[in-house]
């Protein structure tokens, strides 16, 4: 297997954007190509969760390669619900690692803030099992059930969960690409309105637009893909025996560590999928970055803050950098690239050499773990 390197990274600011989705994707793609000093990609992989419903666009791979002005570059559209970005990355990685391509542009984006919130919730909710959807189970509803079970079983507290949002908002205030630029207090999070008991508004990620892109190459560059893994679980929550940890993350992490030849002990910075704040705590434990039952306390004690033992989501995470679905996973890769190259500005994690990205698809039905390592 050929080593795969990240030649360039770029992204749009996440948030409420007026541009069209193809324009957002173009902004990210040309930023990544410029960073890579590559004029034209050999092939293109586009991650997009639901452009058909959000913007009415179909045949998305061809729409994007033509919009970018690379209609001769073979384009492929990849989808695994909310983790579509890292799924697209995987397709690009596989093309370079296998020798099928030398340079691949991987880009992901989503635009949805122009629609009313209930409509967006309903479209995202289509990634839930059809039978369970008949009971009105939206993503926040399922996350509420999981949060209550985790609080009951592991003694996770509302304060610990809320600290994830406080920490991620503080990080986003140092990130010009983030949806939210203001810090929030623990009291504001804990007193925000209840969405799906016990989850409150400030425990949930916002509806964001945006795009992110990377260029992968077989040529040696500053950041190497050390490992990537996929893990799955049944789409039906009622088929699972455990609500409080995600098998899809655990399996993906094992596969990624196996490929990398090292374990969680070498990870110095992580970008985790906090679509709902308790998911960051669950994910810290599922990835082995923290021991089971310890991540809530560690978060409250500042271990995951910038300057802590293991900074988590210096970008601001899904909660505060924003969550434009298929852009999110690639946005995590962009952030880790900047971190490993020492270009993360006010939110730089000092001397980080190994980074981990985690992306959750659906309600943890199709998850990805990616390990990146700075070249020596």
């Amino acid at each position: 297997m050929t080593d795969v390197w990240i030649a360039g990274a770029g992204m749009t600011r996440f948030g409420k954007r007026n541009e069209t989705l193809p324009d957002l994707i173009a902004e990210a793609a040309f930023a990544a190509l410029a960073d890579a000093r590559i004029d034209e990609p050999e092939t293109i992989v586009v991650g997009a969760m639901n452009p058909e419903e959000f913007t009415g666009d179909g045949n998305f791979g061809s729409l994007i390669n033509t919009h970018l002005g690379f209609s001769r570059a073979p384009a492929l559209r990849v989808e695994t619900a909310t983790s579509s970005g890292l799924a697209a990355f995987y397709a690009g990685f596989a093309a370079v690692a296998s020798g099928l391509a030398r340079t691949v542009l991987v880009v992901g984006g989503e635009k949805m803030s122009h629609l009313a919130t209930p409509r967006v919730s309903e479209i995202i909710g289509r990634s839930i099992d059809p039978h369970e959807r008949r009971y009105g189970t939206t993503m926040p509803a399922l996350a509420g059930l999981i949060t209550r079970a985790a609080m009951h079983r592991h003694g996770l507290t509302l304060r610990e969960i809320s600290q994830v949002a406080v920490k991620n908002h503080a990080n986003a205030a140092r990130n010009p690409y983030a949806h939210f630029q203001e810090p929030v207090t623990l009291e504001a999070v804990m007193e925000s309105r209840i969405v799906a008991d016990p989850l409150r508004l400030y425990h949930c990620c916002p509806i964001s637009d945006g795009a992110a892109a990377v260029v992968l190459t077989a040529e040696r560059r500053a950041v190497r893909v050390a490992g990537i893994g996929q893990g799955t679980d049944s789409i039906a929550i009622r088929y699972r025996s455990d609500l409080t940890s995600f098998r899809a993350t655990q399996v993906a992490a094992q596969a990624a560590y196996r490929m990398a030849g090292f374990g969680p002990e070498r990870v110095e910075v992580a970008e985790l999928h906090d679509a709902f704040s308790p998911f960051e705590i669950i994910s810290l434990e599922d990835t082995g970055l923290m021991a089971a039952g310890k991540a809530g306390r560690a978060t409250l004690e500042g271990e995951t803050a910038l300057g802590g033992r293991l900074p988590v989501s210096p970008s601001g995470g899904l909660k505060a950098r924003g969550h434009p679905l298929a852009a999110t996973g690639i946005g995590q890769v962009v952030e880790l690239c900047w971190q490993l190259r020492g270009e993360a500005g006010a939110r730089q994690v000092q001397h980080a050499r190994v980074g981990l990205a985690q992306s959750i698809g659906g309600l943890a039905t199709n998850n990805w773990i990616l390990l990146l390592e700075a070249a020596r």
């Binding site: 009971y135 009105g136 209550r148 309105r193 799906a196 008991d197 609500l243």
Partner: protein, 143 residues
Amino acid sequence: MIESTIPASICPRCERLIVPPAARCPDHGTRMEAATVPNTGEVVSFTTLHSAPEGFRSPLHIALVELEGGARLFCHGQETKGVKIGSHVAVENVDSVYYFSHMGFADRARMFWRRAGARGEKVASISKSLVQGLFKGRSSGQS
């Protein structure tokens, strides 16, 4: 209403039960066989959704219930007041939607007696004499 059964399916390989019945086991790809499960179980977790999706009224009470035998299913409820993780509930199908209702002590006792009765008069009479004995014992102790 308290005790009845719910249609399910069982995997001939791993014996897992699924509600509502599915064609294939989600883990083994094997064809599932028809089965039934009791309509009583325990609450695994629950939530009250304050911004219900289109077609539902807010607040929406949703519970995930594990039925006896291990099959889990989602249910609606009239309320979640007094409901806890581990609460005993009965599940009822109304117009193809399952609803949970909290089983109080009286409901559970009634269910116990009904089951005892179903297993034959012998069990019922033993239980009856046990209770009578207990009552006699207590009254004699008090006097």
